[in-house]
Amino acid sequence: MPVSVQESDFDAGAEIAALSAGRDDVGAVASFVGLVRADKSADAAAVQAMTLEHYPGMTQQALDAIVAEARGRWDLSGVRVIHRVGRLLPGDRIVLVAVASAHRGEAFAACEFIMDYLKTRAPFWKKEETPQGGRWVDARESDGEAAGRWASGGK
């Protein structure tokens, strides 16, 4: 079960350990955990909470397709992706991507690739709650550029 979309929290340590449990061919596990940040920049009211909406019929297969593409580019021993939905508070975990491979280069690259593609291809939307009301998070151009650099089979 490499991909999960769930409301509940996850144990990143346990998920990372599970990727190499009972096997001796894993030399590297790279992981990324995304958290809800209380954005206190000058022009932004502090975020009190965040709600993650998704497209239930599409989310799972979009994430499966991203993982399959990563496995096609790198020789990976295991992949685990967990993305939470629903209402989250600052400091809460949102997403986990963990990748196991024989060597660190492939694990690092595949982990970053999956995050970059997830941010532009997986149907999730964030709505922030602030003292001034709710606001939908705008997509960042830098996310599109980050995903774009993997085009043409880049590694």
């Binding site: 995304g34 993650l52 909406e53 998704h54 497209y55 019929g57 599409m58 297969q61 979009a62 993305h83 949102i94 997403v95 995050m115 997830l118 941010k119 532009t120 291809r121 997986a122 149907p123 999730f124 939307w125 964030k126 709505k127 939908w136 998070v137 705008d138 997509a139 996310d143």
Partner: protein
């Protein structure tokens, strides 16, 4: 009939998350369907006004020239912001 879904800020602007409609015979693409719905007037013009509106056909990301046929599930939404 086709099923049309809306998400996030677009869903809120339209006041609905989904509808079923009979696909007019002259509408064969995602872009034509978007224009057809946007032409209903307020609040549907949000479909034309959403910056970088994205779409999916049968749960796969689709461009404006992607084909739409009866029985399809078509979704419109703003650029995704997960992760």
């Amino acid at each position: 009939m086709i099923k049309v879904l809306f998400f996030a800020g677009l869903r809120e602007a339209l006041g609905t998350g989904s509808e079923s409609l009979a696909l007019p015979a002259e509408i064969a693409t995602v872009g034509a369907l978007r224009d057809h719905l946007a032409a209903r007037g307020e609040p549907w013009s949000a479909l034309a006004g959403t910056k970088n509106l994205r779409a999916a056909v049968n749960q796969q990301m689709a461009a404006a020239d992607a084909a739409v046929k009866p029985g399809d599930e078509v979704a419109f939404f703003p650029p995704v912001t997960g992760g």
